[in-house]
Structures are given as C-alpha cells and as structure tokens.
Subunit: 212 residues, 2 copies
C-alpha cells in the first residue's frame, strides 16, 4: 500500500466516524441531591399509607419529582428540603454530591443506582417521624439513559462505559460514563451538581460521546 | 516511504512523547473558598492597622493561610468561616466555587486571579465591621503554577492553555487549564472543590498534561 492510499483510508474512516458522532447529541440532566424511598420508609416519615404528590414529570418516563421533601442528617451536618423522587422503590436510596457528603460528614461512594451493598446509612427526618437507614447513601455514577435505537446507531449496548466530550468554558472529557439502554429510557446524560459545576453544564446542554 | 517505515517513525515519535510526559507529574492543590484582602478592607473588617496571623504556609512561596476568617453574604445566603489568605493584595478578591455561588445567589464568572473587571461584588462581614465590595467575586480559572525549569522541559510558556489528564474512579480530561510560569512558583495545579469532587481529586494527587 502506498503512503497516499494509507492516508486516504485513514482519512475516510476518521471522517465517517466524526460524521456518525456528530449526528447524536445528548442532552444533560443535572441531578441535585434527592432521595428515593421505600414504602416502609415513606410510612415512617409521612405516616402509614401516605401517597406522594407529583409536582413535575421528569424526563425519564414514569419518574417524577414529588412535592414532599425531607431533611437528611449526617454526623457533621444536615441538608434540608431534599426532594423525594417517585415512584417508590424497593430500597431507599439517598443521592448526594461529594460536596454534600463533606457537609454531612458521610463518605458517599460513587455507585450505580441500586447497587447499595456496603454504602453508608444516614438519618432521614420527615414530618411524622425519622428513619436511620443502614445503607443507601451514594454519589451517583455518571450515566447516560439511552433508548435501543440510539444505542444501535452508536454501536453501544447496556452497561458499556464511554467517554463524553464537554464543550465550553470548562471543557473537557468525562470518563467512566455508564450507558444504560432500555426501551423505557429517553436519551439523557445525568451528572451531579459537582460534575455540572466543574464543567459549566446546565440542564439541556448538549454533549457527545467521544470514545467507546 | 514504505508502510513499515511510516509505522516505525510514528511509533518512535509517540513513544518519545509518552516518555517525556511520564517524567513530569503535577501535584493537585484543592482550593476551598477563600478571600484575599486589600489593606483598606482588612482595616474595615478587623480594625485599623490590623495584621493577619499566619497559621500555615501554602505550597506557593510567600503565600499563607491566616487564622482570621470572615462571613460572605450574597442575596440568597451566606457562607461563614471563609479563610483569609495572605499576604494582602492591591485588590480584594473572593474565590468561590459555582456551588457556593448558587448558595450565595451570586453568579461568579470563571476568571484568572487578578482579572476582576466586571465581576460581582459581595458583602464581607468581619468582627469589627463589614464591607460591600463593588467587584471581586470569581470562580478561579483552573491553573498550573510552574517553575521555569519545568516549563522548559514541557515546552510550555507563561499563559499557555493545556489539557490535563486525571486518572481514577472519575477519570477524564480537564481542558482550558491556564499555565502560569514564574521563578516564584512551585509546580502545582489548583482546582476548586467542584472540580476536585467531579474528578475525585484530593490534595497531592498527581495529574499530567495530556495536550498542549
């Protein structure tokens, strides 16, 4: 193969790759600290049989922000007005940023949603009672919710790990981003407030996958 | 040139480049919110002719953390025990994270130290009085302090902008990093708490320049 032929082949592949990536931009969703509750813990905090009041649908189908908020308290401090997200789950999960963790005095590990084994507990205070959880406090692993059609276009599958390129004043690349694929999902990348502020990202900003 | 020759040349250049970069690791310094005061503002806050009490030398020669702290107050909230760093400067400068800015209700622009034109003011409260500054609140532009010898090895000069690679659980690349070169500096990269938490970086963690 001649040098020219080699250059032409490489150029073609790179151009195709860039074209492909340019087609799919991923909107950002910034997750402020929030909490998912089990039926049991909701009963403790708000009274037996209590039902959450939806105030806003979230972008992911079926998920919503509730009117109800709680206080979470760690050994060093507490955070008030922590929003409850619905619907109820099998296990209570408290999602905070590492900045929040310093204020609370709780070392929240970076975890995928639902992987709560060995995570620290926290005190949750509601209007009718309080709960001391034995686990469930995490800093969410940054992740992308993706529908199967988009996953196919990007040649990605559920649980792949990708790098994501961020443009702008605090541009850069976020590595170790988990891809979750389901027909229940809408394309959206979730970052916490530390990640959003470190990259000057706001809700609806667009990012793209830079490497699979 | 044959394909083999081309591959050999590229391999040699890449290996040399990797070798060069591997030689120089940059320690991280995480900057929590802090304040630099002018003589005039120190007088207002602590009384005429007041002198700061050094409690700890910082890594950059001549810079120190003072015993004295102040409260800063914005339209939405306040932050207590904000550390004063010495020595005094010509202009008062308040360095916060974007997370802090949301709490205060102050939109701190991302700025290089000393570039305070058009930045928002804030109320500073000391034990003997308070000051309402007309400007000076910034989120520090991430930057690397570098001695001239290191700059020469890395083929960098003052005010260059580089990308920095971060390893670990929240790995990635921080772009738009300002390089400041002076024989008064010791090699150190400064990030704020948002950036540190977004990347799981602690004081003394090592990063390296990935692209000039």
């Amino acid at each position: 193969m001649s040098q020219e032929q080699l250059v032409n082949i490489v150029t073609k592949i790179v151009m195709e790759k860039m074209q492909q990536d340019d087609d799919i931009l991923i909107p950002i969703g910034v997750s402020n600290r929030h909490i998912h509750l089990s039926r049991e813990d909701l009963d403790f905090l708000f009274g037996p049989g209590y039902e959450l009041t939806k105030i806003k649908d979230l972008k992911q189908p079926g998920q919503f922000a509730a009117q109800e908020v709680v206080t979470i308290q760690g050994p060093k401090g507490s955070l008030e007005k922590v929003r409850i997200l619905g619907p109820l789950r099998n296990e209570t999960q408290i999602e905070v940023s590492l900045t929040d963790g310093f204020k609370l005095g709780v070392k929240a590990p970076i975890r995928e949603s639902g992987k709560l084994e060995g995570t620290p507990g926290i005190k949750i205070i509601g209007p009718k009672g309080s709960v001391e959880t034995s686990k469930g406090t995490i800093a969410a692993l940054r992740h992308i919710h993706m529908d199967p059609q988009t996953a196919q276009k990007l040649d990605l599958k559920d649980k792949d790990i990708v790098d994501v390129e961020v443009k702008g004043e605090r541009k850069g690349i976020l590595g170790n981003v988990l891809v979750r694929v389901s027909d229940k999902y809408v394309l959206e990348m979730h970052v916490d407030t530390d990640e959003a502020n470190a990259c000057c990202l706001k809700n609806g900003d667009l990012v793209k996958i830079s490497r699979k």
